[in-house]
Every structure is written in structure tokens, then in C-alpha cells.
Symmetry: C2
Subunit: 68 residues, 2 copies
């Protein structure tokens, strides 16, 4: 499974555990909702900065995204 | 310390532990040496795919880059 798909699945898993919608995450992380959707579906890649924004918005350590 | 600087320091640390030069890593990971140098100095960001290439080239799990 390629890294984008693995990362996307893990982001979605953490977001759902936190009971946060894509809409809310988009607001918290200041990232466009459709971009979040593409990341979760493994279509779009993610830069370090976006990972950092997502981790802060979800209140998790960035390392959590790589526990797959 | 911003995420790019933290990641860059950690990449350099792992590369040195493995006694691999930037030149050799550039060859193994198929990433331009000057780009690796910029990443290590926290100047350039890194995509998921480049992280994956770097991790495979260094024979470490990608999670290692985030143990800072």
C-alpha cells in the first residue's frame, strides 16, 4: 500500500476517534476541506507543514500519523 | 523550532548514524544531493513520497524521522 493511502487512512482514523468532521478539521487546521478529503483518500500528498497543522488541530503528536 | 528544522536535524542524525554521506543518500533515494542538503538545513519541506524514499534508502521506518 503506498504511503499516501496509508497516511490518509490513518488521518481519517484519528479524526474519527476524535469525533471531528472534515469540515471542523478544515477550520481548525486552516486547510481546505476538499484537500483534506483528497489526503484521506490517498490522492493528495502532504507537506511537513500541513502535517504539522493537522497534528496541532487534532491535538496529537505528528508521530501518530505514522503508526500504521 | 519549526517542523522543517526538526525534521532536517533528525534526517542528518540518522544519516550520520548510518555513516552514509549526502552523496550516497542522494544516489540511494534518487533525490538530488542539494535538495537533501536543503532539507537537512530546514530550508526545504518534504513530501510524503520523498520521506518514504529517504526512509527506504536509510533502511528505517518512516516513524524514525519524527522521534524528536
Amino acid at each position: 500500500m503506498n504511503i499516501k493511502i496509508k497516511f490518509g487512512k490513518r488521518l481519517k482514523e484519528i479524526r474519527n476517534q476524535k469525533k471531528i468532521t472534515q469540515e471542523k478539521l478544515s477550520e481548525l487546521a486552516n486547510i481546505d476541506r476538499s484537500y483534506i478529503s483528497d489526503i484521506e483518500r490517498g490522492i493528495k500528498s502532504v507537506s511537513l507543514e500541513k502535517m504539522d497543522q493537522l497534528a496541532k488541530a487534532l491535538e496529537v503528536n505528528i508521530i501518530e500519523f505514522f503508526k500504521f
